[in-house]
Symmetry: none
């Protein structure tokens, strides 16, 4: 966790630092990243980064949390559609996925960061950070899942954890495949539609 001092910085300064860190961590992964390069790009002193963060790991953990939060904000809150029937539900899901794709498309670094994070090969000390970030993303998915089940859009005969895992896996397919195979943003909608339809077949009752 960053020391409280960090949050008292002008927001601009914070962003400069986090942006440099995002660039570096997403490009080289946690282990391959260099604090030296981060501070060089951010234009701050060696001492400063240690004045704001306990360690490299701490910086990474904070960056991760912050990026996941931002992503969730960008994707928007999940709201059960007024129409309480499956078609409308899946339409909402599709909409969220499309926003997700656009967020990833706008910041490939974020996608890299998350992929590195999920590889799980980091120092044991950052696992806590990883779990934290994961937990902050889960509630949103959990709520979406419960809503889908309550209106009969999603099957209820298999464990939630499995449904979530599948949801996240397909989510990763969305960001990797859609962006790789349909780089033109105008094709995003169609590609997402296809994949969400697949997801729907997979986990509808």
């Amino acid at each position: 966790m960053p020391r409280p001092r960090f949050h008292t910085l002008p927001r601009e300064r914070q962003q400069t630092i986090l942006h440099a860190a995002l660039d570096e961590f997403s490009a080289h992964g946690f282990a391959g990243a260099s604090l030296n390069r981060i501070i060089a790009e951010a234009g701050i002193s060696k001492g400063s980064i240690y004045y704001y963060f306990d360690s490299k790991e701490d910086l990474y953990a904070h960056l991760l949390r912050e990026q996941v939060e931002q992503l969730i904000v960008r994707v928007g809150p999940f709201s059960v559609p007024a129409a309480t029937e499956p078609d409308a539900y899946w339409s909402t899901i599709e909409n969220h996925c499309l926003r997700l794709v656009r967020a990833y498309d706008a910041s490939p670094q974020l996608a890299n960061l998350l992929r590195d994070w999920m590889s799980g090969t980091g120092a044991p000390a950052i696992e806590n950070a990883q779990r934290d970030a994961e937990l902050s993303a889960l509630p949103w998915m959990t709520r979406a899942l419960a809503a889908g089940q309550s209106i009969g859009a999603i099957r209820t005969d298999i464990p939630d954890a499995l449904l979530l895992a599948i949801g996240m896996a397909i989510g990763r397919v969305i960001d990797s495949w859609v962006i790789a195979e349909a780089p033109d943003p105008r094709e995003h909608a169609a590609a997402v539609h296809t994949i969400v339809d697949i997801l729907r077949r997979a986990i509808q009752p």
Copy 2:
């Protein structure tokens, strides 16, 4: 590629080295791995590892290739069942997935290694190694996919690349979820059955 000398070593010695490398790379990823630790664990000298391999990257690449190959061998060759109808096909797939799970279960390091491999955040220098390993794994999946389509077990209206991506994503769910949630090997079969059924719903015609 390892120098030919490596292959002339007693098989035991080769295994000792590769085992040490697998431990290290799977625990820390490519960037975080330390050659010093590898040679210490393998009980060989600093010069030796460079006598067998050109570089850290070379060692990693060879390890990756070798592990993927072994995995494929362990999972077994894909053969279209005599009965050429979907149920038999999916049964075969399920069978392969179960073997996959058991292979992963037997060597969690392998799972870590492959996850690091797929995170893709490594130095640009190891991308060749990654691509190579990927290519050695793809044919197997491609053949399985084509067979499924030819007997009407898999839909043909969406691109192969997408089907493969989904197949691999579900595959990852199998190794992460099954092992996490059903650590008792006796439950593996049931869990795999559930997930393969989900996969079937997702991509059958």
Copy 3:
């Protein structure tokens, strides 16, 4: 070029480091020199030398430049004597050569360094450093040459480059032979006189 930090060090510390580097480079040449030995003799840490200089090459280049500059300072600025006739000119030259001899005599390492520098068998990477140092020494010689020609003390019918080459060659004879054959400083003057007279015969009109 050394990082600016180096120049903010106490002059004494700078000298300690450069002295150690001079010892090492002059004794073993660029390729044979060991940074480990340099830092050991200078009594600084391994990290420090890289905090001050970009690389071994950078340290060598800076040392070379600095030594050449110091040498030029010690030899003194070249000034055309008031009396604009050859005898006075050659007398001035002789005077400079004598100072050169004394500088070399005071620091044999400098002579070694310069000899290694001129051998030019270094890695292609240090050629820039060598060229730089050369350029910083040339203007002095060029000015001296032009002055000699303008008052008729030096022939003008052969290319300047050749005259300079001969001048430098004789210069090297001065430092190697005078020091080797006339180690007693009191004999320096006579020896230099002899050699400058030879040089005069060689390149006067």
Copy 4:
């Protein structure tokens, strides 16, 4: 000194090895040269080089001696011209210098090797080799010098050692300047003539 075994090799094999060594030593100097690269280029085994030579230094020393000998052979024996007057003498000298230039021109590596050798920054252990090589070149020059003096072509009022030093210095000018500034072999003769004339002025009575 190479072990006697080396000389029992087929001359061709000897040449292959020495040629590879010449390439490497002339390109990187003694300290920077790599035995590994030498044996790789020569296509011999690691053990062989140590079967023929005691050490890296031993190989270097032998190469040096051999090259100097070859050079002297190529330049040809010094013979006092029948006509015993200065013009004929200097003409002979000029002729030898021209042959020297051509030898250097034919093998720039030789020039590099000798320059590295003369830099004197090698390990103390190779100094003996250096001295040996120097001694094997000296007799030739000494004889030439004595001949010149006996017929009044060279002054006798300064020490022989100094005359020799100047001769060698001018010799170096010949190989460095002539080759650098007059790369066209057809210009060699004129350039050499100019420089030998300068030498003549410098050391004739």
